[in-house]
């Protein structure tokens, strides 16, 4: 083959390659406008000034209106000094109705198509705390004979493995003990999901699907605002409610009063009464995660 023919063929090959690459990347080219430049360059939550955050909150509200066709308020509710939240759950009276999971689903603007929730309720066999004998996909009337029910959600650990493993500090523990995620900083590596021993974390495998009428408009930056695609999320003890003195949605929905929520630092709180007067236990205590979520039996 002579040199000029060879060069011509090489040029042809190179142009074919470039054309192929452009074609292969087409889906990305069509999509890019969905991510704004402001979002791409946004700083970490803790690095933002009050003014910068205010601008971001307004931008997110605008985005919610454009995407989901609904007017929402996104606040930045900060923890109150002297407050550390704790949760206790009475296994003797939980009937496994999953009202808590449903309330969580609605309150926290979860994806409707997957029926996601931060709470999973295990149907357990009486006489054993072995989760291997439990089941999450039970059906039929509850409570079933010979069973008891154990809802599991984020345990808000004092020593959270999910926070340690995050490579970009996108998740951290706040002063009131709630572990939060900056949805605009998370890179979606899912290392925290692998690290969590309680299956408390969820990933947004796709853009959440929600109808305008289904959206809870009372939102906050670190909790229940509609999450972007490709990031982690988790239970925040409904911090947009609890930091304003309200109770978590799952507690309000519980028909049996199995749930007790309050300030662990307040000696007169109901949660402190439970911890002092009931024999409480935590899940997987041997792992040293030191949960702020307690379980107890009445009798």
């Amino acid at each position: 083959m002579d040199a000029s023919r060879r060069t011509a063929l090489k040029a042809l090959g190179a142009s074919l390659g470039v054309a192929g690459l452009a074609r292969a990347l087409q889906p990305l080219v069509d999509w890019t406008p969905a991510t704004s430049m402001d979002e791409l360059l946004q700083k970490h939550y803790k690095a933002l000034t009050k003014e910068e955050l205010a601008v971001i909150l307004r931008r997110l509200e605008d985005e919610a209106r454009d995407t989901y066709g609904v007017d929402v308020t996104i606040e930045d509710v900060r923890p109150t000094p002297g407050v550390e939240f704790g949760y206790a759950l009475n296994l003797s009276i939980c009937i496994g109705c999953r009202k808590c999971a449903e309330a969580c689903h609605n309150e926290n603007n979860h994806d409707r198509s997957t029926n996601n929730s931060y709470i999973r309720v295990l149907e357990m066999e009486k006489g054993s705390l072995d989760m291997g004998k439990g089941s999450v996909d039970y059906d039929g009337p509850v409570p079933a004979p010979g069973k008891f029910y154990m809802p599991v959600q984020c345990q808000q650990c004092r020593n959270p493995p999910c926070v340690s493993v995050c490579p970009v500090e996108a998740t951290w523990q706040e002063s009131d003990g709630v572990t939060v995620v900056d949805y605009n900083w998370c890179i979606g590596c899912r290392y925290c999901e692998a690290a969590c021993p309680y299956h408390a974390r969820r990933f947004n495998w796709k853009k959440p699907e929600l109808g305008a009428s289904e959206i809870n408009p009372n939102q906050s930056y670190l909790s229940n605002r509609v999450r972007p695609q490709g990031v982690m999320e988790k239970c925040t003890f409904c911090l947009h409610r609890t930091r304003k003195g309200q109770l978590p949605a799952c507690l309000e929905a519980c028909p049996t009063g199995a749930r007790v929520f309050g300030n662990l630092l307040d000696p007169s709180s109901e949660i402190r009464w439970v911890l002092e007067n009931k024999r409480v236990f935590v899940l997987k205590e041997d792992l040293g995660t030191q949960p702020r979520f307690y379980y107890f039996f009445d009798e």
Partner: protein, 411 residues
């Protein structure tokens, strides 16, 4: 000194290197076209995944890592295993290996690139990749093992790029490489090779909530299996180099690598056995994942055929490697290398990452099957690695045989 300045000769080196990289016989063009096509299919699948979300994969909140992280782990091992060639060549001054050690260094570069690509395609938000960089991002170091991995993998890539680049460039100039400029880096790369795979093992073994991974033997096991895949791949690569290039590959070089491989393949099987014994004899919750992996449980057995295939491949390969005579049975040895390469790929990938999630931390039995998108992306990344490796070896061969030299005119 009447050497021309580097500012003149280096661009010339790059230009001539591009010439070599795009010039060859028909089989070379066919091979490169094939790899490019597969890479493009992978890139397209990744673009699709980025737009539609990771929902296009088979992963779930229960099994949140799959084929990508499995291949990432294996690729890191392959990169670390390349050092099996560097150690005898430099520490034991093995002359036969010294002539071809560049192949191992090129392998390290290609495999690290593959590993990094698998991390990126596993991210839900690849647009935020910069958060993961030191200084400009928000680097959770030293707490997060993943930040250690970023340093280890990035450092290893830079080291090997420097070593290969320096050796090839000085040879191109027709000079003897100055030991000061590469031997210290080679020594550092040996330690670094062990570190990349140790850190990758710590990524998993440090998780208390995952009993299947939470074992101290994981890092040694990773190193042992790296010393299987690295040499196995290098044997195959050297056989190919011998066949398709002018570069000289002596039998002595192959024999040395085989010696390493024979020990490593047994060490790896021994560690798997130790792990399996501890799990099954102890029983309890620690065996749940292993039971699912090896025998299936609760009526789910998706990984059983995978793991037994892996064990079969590794055992048969070990038998062939121990029995074969390098002088007569080169074909058999090649076959055994291919077998154990595939065996470890399964064992360390699907056989290690996926069962870590089954049962889930709440003991749900949710199985995982990779989707077509995941296979496309996986194939695409390996094909891209194949391109880097092929071009690296082709360039090395051209330079080491003296075909490509500054003082020789381009044909």
């Amino acid at each position: 000194m009447n050497h021309p300045q580097h500012i003149v000769t280096y661009p010339r080196f790059l230009w001539r290197a591009i010439g070599v990289a795009t010039d060859g016989k028909l089989p070379f063009y066919a091979w490169m076209t094939f790899l490019t096509a597969v890479t493009l299919v992978g890139i397209n699948a990744w673009a699709e995944q980025t737009v539609r979300g990771m929902d296009v994969t088979g992963m779930t909140d229960q099994v949140s890592w799959g084929l990508y992280i499995a291949n990432f782990t294996f690729a890191v091992g392959l990169a670390a295993g390349a050092v099996a060639m560097v150690i005898p060549a430099y520490l034991y001054k093995d002359k036969a290996l010294h002539d071809v050690v560049i192949v191992g260094e090129v392998l390290a570069v290609a495999a690290i690139t593959v590993a990094l690509a698998f991390v990126i395609c596993d991210l839900g938000r690849p647009d935020r990749f910069w958060h993961l960089l030191p200084v400009i991002g928000r680097f959770n170091w030293p707490m997060s093992m993943l930040t250690w991995d970023v340093i280890a993998l990035g450092g290893y890539l830079v080291l090997n790029l420097h070593i290969t680049g320096y050796l090839l460039y000085t040879r191109f100039l027709g000079r003897e490489p100055n030991k000061r400029w590469y031997v210290p880096f080679v020594m550092l790369s040996i330690v670094w090779a062990v570190s990349i795979h140790t850190v990758t093992a710590f990524l998993y073994s440090g998780l208390g909530g995952r009993p299947f991974w939470n074992t101290a033997i994981l890092a040694p096991r990773f190193i042992a299996s790296a010393f299987v895949t690295g040499p196995a791949f290098i044997v195959l690569a050297l056989l190919a180099v011998r066949r398709f290039t002018e570069m000289w590959v002596g039998d002595d070089a192959l024999r040395t690598i085989l010696r390493i491989l024979r020990v490593a393949v047994l060490a790896n099987l021994f560690m798997v056995l130790s792990e399996v014994f501890t799990e099954f004899y102890t029983g309890g919750s620690h065996v749940a994942a292993a039971e699912y992996l090896y025998f299936g449980s609760h009526g789910k057995d998706g990984l059983v055929p995978w793991i037994w295939t892996a064990i079969g491949l590794n055992v048969v390969a070990a038998a062939i490697l121990l029995g074969a005579n390098p002088q007569q049975h080169l074909k058999w040895i090649g076959l055994a290398c291919a077998m154990t390469f595939c065996g470890v790929w399964i064992e360390k990938g699907m056989g290690l990452i996926v069962p870590g999630f089954i049962p889930s931390t709440l003991h749900e039995m949710v199985e995982y099957t990779p989707t077509v998108t995941e296979w496309k992306i996986t194939a695409g990344i390996w094909a891209a690695g194949g391109i880097i490796f092929t071009l690296g070896v082709k360039l090395s061969s051209a330079i080491f045989t003296g075909e490509l030299r500054l003082d020789r005119e381009a044909p």
